[in-house]
Every structure is written in structure tokens, then in C-alpha cells.
Symmetry: C2
Subunit: 455 residues, 2 copies
Amino acid sequence: MQKALEMAREKRSEHLNKLFEFLRIPSISTETERHPDVRRAAEWLVDQMTAAGLQEARVMETEGLPIVYGEWLEAGPDAPTVLVYGHYDVQPVDPLNLWQSQPFEPEIRGGDIYARGAVDDKGQMFAHIKAVETILASEGRVPVNLKFLFEGEEELGSPSIDAFVEEHAGLLAADSVLVSDTAFLAEGKPMLVYGLRGLTYMEILVDGPHHDLHSGAYGGTVYNPAQVLAEIIAKLHNDDATVAIPGFYDRVRELSETDREAAAQVDYPVTQWQQETGMDKPWGEAGYSLIERRGGRPTCEVNGIWGGYSGEGGKTIIPAHAGAKISMRLVPDQDPDEIAQLFADFIPTIAPEHVRVTVNKLSGGWPSITPIDSPEMKAAAAALQAVWGVPPVFSREGGSIPVISTFQKVLGASAVLMGFGLPGSKMHAPNEHFKEDHYYKAIEAIIHYYHNLAG
Amino acid sequence: MQKALEMAREKRSEHLNKLFEFLRIPSISTETERHPDVRRAAEWLVDQMTAAGLQEARVMETEGLPIVYGEWLEAGPDAPTVLVYGHYDVQPVDPLNLWQSQPFEPEIRGGDIYARGAVDDKGQMFAHIKAVETILASEGRVPVNLKFLFEGEEELGSPSIDAFVEEHAGLLAADSVLVSDTAFLAEGKPMLVYGLRGLTYMEILVDGPHHDLHSGAYGGTVYNPAQVLAEIIAKLHNDDATVAIPGFYDRVRELSETDREAAAQVDYPVTQWQQETGMDKPWGEAGYSLIERRGGRPTCEVNGIWGGYSGEGGKTIIPAHAGAKISMRLVPDQDPDEIAQLFADFIPTIAPEHVRVTVNKLSGGWPSITPIDSPEMKAAAAALQAVWGVPPVFSREGGSIPVISTFQKVLGASAVLMGFGLPGSKMHAPNEHFKEDHYYKAIEAIIHYYHNLAG
């Protein structure tokens, strides 16, 4: 491994030049007129992966923008197989006038690489190509089997990736997934994301009278659909802020000691929560810290509610319809389909017979977790500590990354999210930047990771 | 009185011709280009009232379209004073192609007068001018003092009348109000409206985080404003469908035996409610019939509710804001301002401290009632029975007529709603019509009414 690390340090300027080449391609997936550039980026990547010494690298078509696939599988059947996921498309650049340098003319200022995509995700994903190239060039072989999956539609919400993964489940089969698209907790504080919440997104529609009724003529004789909806929503939580749906917690994996110790390592004072939310007083399940509530506990949230008149002044109607969007964040081992069913079963038990209540499932995704004491997490933690000199904090994030949920469900592979960004990198804003030093160290950390994982 | 009734019968064709003249004026208040016609109708009315023998008749200006005022006050200080209210503006006529005859070319077909405004309200209000004219011409004097107030903005929602009544409270002072702008229960079934509900219209605004939050990153730590709103609304009613606001029922006048007998006379089977609402199962306070619930009991209704995302698919946010429009229908002797205060006092007691809850009063109007055994109601019932041969049913309507509430509040005068329309008169639709026979009999009923009232 030392040979690889040495070569990585020697070739820094070469690695930087190639990244700049990548960053110059304006692969904005949300702008149709840039789609030729997105495709150009895919083809450029295939060339880089081939040059890096992969056994195979190719563009694969989807319904939308192409996916780049590559593999090196010579580590032998006993070595673990890692699927590296990233994306080569980038956000739009508006408003252009707020950029200090051109978004597609990368420039280094104050130790940071400024360009659209520098940190999200070109810089981080390209480190993976340079890492495998460096290992192969210096050692002739990688100690693990590697598959690469780079998509060009992440900034569009990854509309094609789920179908692609399902269709190519055999090709993509892996023991674990490695993703570099997240950030450190702070400068000098590496962080590994070891869990993501899943999601079950539902819609409740309440239908009462066949048209809006005059509230004078009918008020007091009709069970008002907006009132029914409010009463249903009010029954979704218990007074202690827990979710009232029977069976909701049955499969919830309780936080382990390790989980709680890890959560305690994440510095997140109430003052920060107050600043971010603009609210005074946190809410939620007693006995869990803010970090635990958001990462390790399931929730039920009203995302939207509507019905009747919402304009200026007053309108005296009993609305014919009312509705709400309600989503539940899930933790292992909750099953999004089962939760949808529990929800759908519960609503009729709390809805009056006066109105018609329809419950629709809009979408769902699995929660995922890669335990802190799993070989992958241990390998990643050791890699970060070797390069940065400090152990990482471990975080379970409150959000969901649908593709991670898909890998979990289709491939049975959980993910290590080893990201090298920093807070304040302006990922979707003007003046996006990636710390130059983190780009080089990312390559080294990946080299460490594969060697650690092979044991 | 017999001389007056005889003359009314003799002059039917003359009365019809004059009404036709009135109906030919396209006094559509909602269309600015028709406002000269509205003013022409006002001036035409003044001429008719002068010709009828009133002591005074004049156009009075408002911020909007003019009001026509008239009076005859020679009945002496001991005789009651009646304020007759009506409106000379009409609804628009679109869609014109659905009219079988021109809306402003009155025509009699099958015993009905077809024209825009025939029943709402020109035909009914003009009967009042012809009634006083007939009494004065045949008897030389009316047994009661009379004031007439005809507005030209009723179809606009009467934007000027409240200020006008308050400004001219002395001029308009009266013992009771008489309005003919309602309908029979059915052909051959006269109906007197003796009560109207009042209204207190409120708005609840819930403000949580300073912007919509990502429900993954913050879900489980923030008291969701849409959930708070739902929980507040759910607490507005008790399980037995009564309103849970403390003090809400304190001033409610219980239904009298007379009220309940009158309600029982109104034929309103559940099947009719089902047809009108499209719902299977009525809701509301136990122990009260549908008619009683809508006319004689106060309510609290959600007129609108909003917050967060309501479009296609899902959006994973915790909404920053949520709100609701909530109005309460009031019955005597509830005070709309007091009810607003009770509501505003109650909400903070059921809202959590996590969010900011604002309660606004949007509008209010007083309930009104003219007891069935009051001299005015007895006089009106006897008048209808004399002309139609059957006693009327008595109805308390669920809706509110703001001007009636204003007369109640400013003048202390309660109203008799003695209307001569019929259900299915297409008041706001093409082919509006008024039964020709009802126009003539309305004049006779009004003659009876004044004589009955004088005793």
C-alpha cells in the first residue's frame, strides 16, 4: 500500500489537471440544451476509466441520460466486492453574476478548487478513478473487486437509476456500496454516514358533499371534511410525540450503545437547531437527543394540507374535499410497504363513517444502516484516521437517499458514505468549491479503505 | 281595508304594466357598464314612489350605487313604524343563449313572469310600492308609518349599506323591518322566515420554522405547524358534535316549544338532505332535527385549511406555516364580538408553546329573531292566511343576511321576512321567473299586513 500512497502524492498535479478537464465539461442534467455535454462527460469518463486500467468501462443507456459502468474483478472470489456509486452531472449555475470565477473554468483560490461540480460530485467521484488507477499502476492489483456506477441524472432526482439497478442486479451484485458525496462534520472532523432513514409517503383524501355547501344552510348537519381531516391528523401522534399507528414501532431497531455513543460525538447544540429552524423549543420523543431523533427514530410528518377556501377574507363554505400529504421517515428494520399498509389500515379506524376517506401510497424507500462495527465501517474509519489523524464521527442522517435505499433493497448491499466535502461548500449555489487538499487526501483514504477492507 | 283590496284586484293589469316597465331596465350592479341603468332604475323608482303618494322619495348617494329612500309618516306617533327593505339591482344574465325570452323583455308564459329580476327582487319589492299606492288611493291613509329603503348593490354583497344605515340611523328608525326577498316552502305553502343566524368569521395562522424545513433533516425535532393546526381544529368540537369553546353556549336561547312546533311543520326529510349534499349520514347535535340544527343551533365550521405542499406527488417538507378559516354561525342571543373573543381566548389554551399562533377576526354579524308570537309575525301570518287560505310555516334560516343583522344591531329592529317567491324560480340563473298570481297576491298580503299590524 505504501507504494500506492507514495505514487498518489507524486502525481497530485497530474490528478488535479485531469479533474480540471472533467470540471470544464458543463454537464448540467436539468438543462436539455446541456445534454450533449452530459453525454460527453460520460464518454470522457469511460476513457479515463479505461486508461486507469479497469477491465471494462462503458456507457450504458437508460430511458434518460447515460450511466457509466466499469469493473475490475481480479481480486478473486474470496475478496469482497465493492460497488462505487457517484454522479457526473452537476447543478445549474444561475445566478451566474454571483460567481467570482467562471463555473466551468476551475480555479484555485485560498486552497480551494472553485467550479460547479467541484465537490458535488465530480471531485469526490473522480478521486475514486484516480485511486484505483494509482493502486493498479503501483501494485498491479487491487485487494478487492471493484464495480463503478456513475449516473448522469442525480441532480434530476435519479429518475432512471432504480429501473437500471433492478434490470442489472446481476451485473451490479456487490457486498457493499461506497459513496463519496457527503461532507465532514467540520474542518478536521471527518464523518462517516452509517445510516439513512427510509420513507413512506402517503396521501389522505377526504370527500364529503358532492360540492362545496353553503355553511349557513348546511352548517351543523354535515360532518365537515376539513374537520374530519384535522381530527384524523390529530390522532396520528400520541401526546408524548410518538406515532400512534398500531404496529408502527414493531420492527424499529433500538439504538445500540454504539449508536448512542456515536450520536453523542456529533456536536449539535440546541442553539444551532434554534438558528437553523428559527424556533425556540424542540419537540419530539423524550429520551432521545436531537441527533438521535432525526437520525435514529422514525417520524410521521404532515407535508401538506389543503381544503376549501384559503384566499383573502372569508368564504362561508363547507368544503367538499380536503386532503393531506403525510410522510413517515423510517429506520431499520421498518419496511416501507408494511408501514404504508399499517397507515392505510389505521386511517379507517379513526375516520367517521360520514365521509369517504381514500388513502394512497405515493412513494417509498427502505431505511439503511451499516453498523459501526461492521467490517466496512471499521475499514472506512481506519482509512480516515490514517489520513486525517483523527477518528471520524459516525452519523445517521435523517434524510433518505433513494438510490442507497435501492441498493439496499435490490442488491442487499448497505452503503458506506465516506464523503470529503466540508460544510459551506456551496454545493447548489454560486462559488461551489472543494478543498484541494481534500481531493488529494480522498484518493489516499480510498487506497487505505480497499486495503483495510481486504484485511 | 276592503276598498284597498278591491282596488288592488281592479288594477292588476296596470300594476303588471308598471312592473314590466321596471323589469325592462337592465340594472345589473355587477357590470360597470350597466351602472347608468342602475341609476336610471333608482330615479324611475323615485318617480313611482312620488306618484304613489309618499310624502317624500329621493335618491341618496353612497360610496357606490345610490339608495332610494321614501317615507309616509302620517299614521301618528302611536302607530308602529315599518321599514321596508328591498333591492332594485339584478344579477347578470349570462349565459344569454339559455334564456327562452330576452331577460329584459318581460313575458308571461304559463302564468309566470319571465325576466331577470322578476322575483329577485324587483317583482317582490315593487309590490310594496303598489300596495302603499293602493291603500293611499282607496283609503287616504295607511294605518302604519312607512319608510322605504331600496338599495342598488345587493347583488354586489351590499358594500355600502352598513355605513349608510349607521349614518342615517335616525332617519331610518323603525319598530320593525319588512322584507320580501324570500320564497314559499312550496307552491301553496307560504313561509315566514323569523330568524337568521349570525356569523363570527375567524382565521388561525400557525407559524413554525422561518422557512420550510427538510422533513428528513428536521423531522422528529420540530412541532409541525400543519400538525399543530390539525390538533387545534380537532379540539374545537366535543365528541358529541357540540362546540368545545368555553362559554360558547352561554347566551344561546334554547328553542321554545313554539320554535320546535314550527320546525316540525317544515317538511325536510333526510332523503332531501341526502340529495342536496350527496352524503349518506347527517351529523350534528343529538336531540335536534336537521331543521333545528341548521336554523336554531350555533355551529363552528372549517371553511378552509392550508399549509405546505398540495401539488402532484410528494415534497418532503415541514411547512413553515399553516392556517385555517373558521366561522361560527350564531343564534340569539350570542354576540359576534364576544364569540370572537371567546374563540381568541380559547386557541392559546389548546396550542403548544412551540409555535406562534395568531388569531384574527375577519368579520361578524348579529343573529336575529322575531318571535313567532310577536305582533309582527302574527300580523304577517294572518295576512298570508287571508290571501292564500292556509297558515304559513315558520322558518329559522341557517344563513345570515348581513343587512338584517345591521338593522338588528343599529336600529334595534327585527325583521319579518315575508317572501313571495317559489322554489325553482331560477333567481340567479337563466329564465328567472315570478308567478304572476303571486305578484298580485303579494300586494294584497302587504295591505293585510299593515292593517293587521295596526290592530
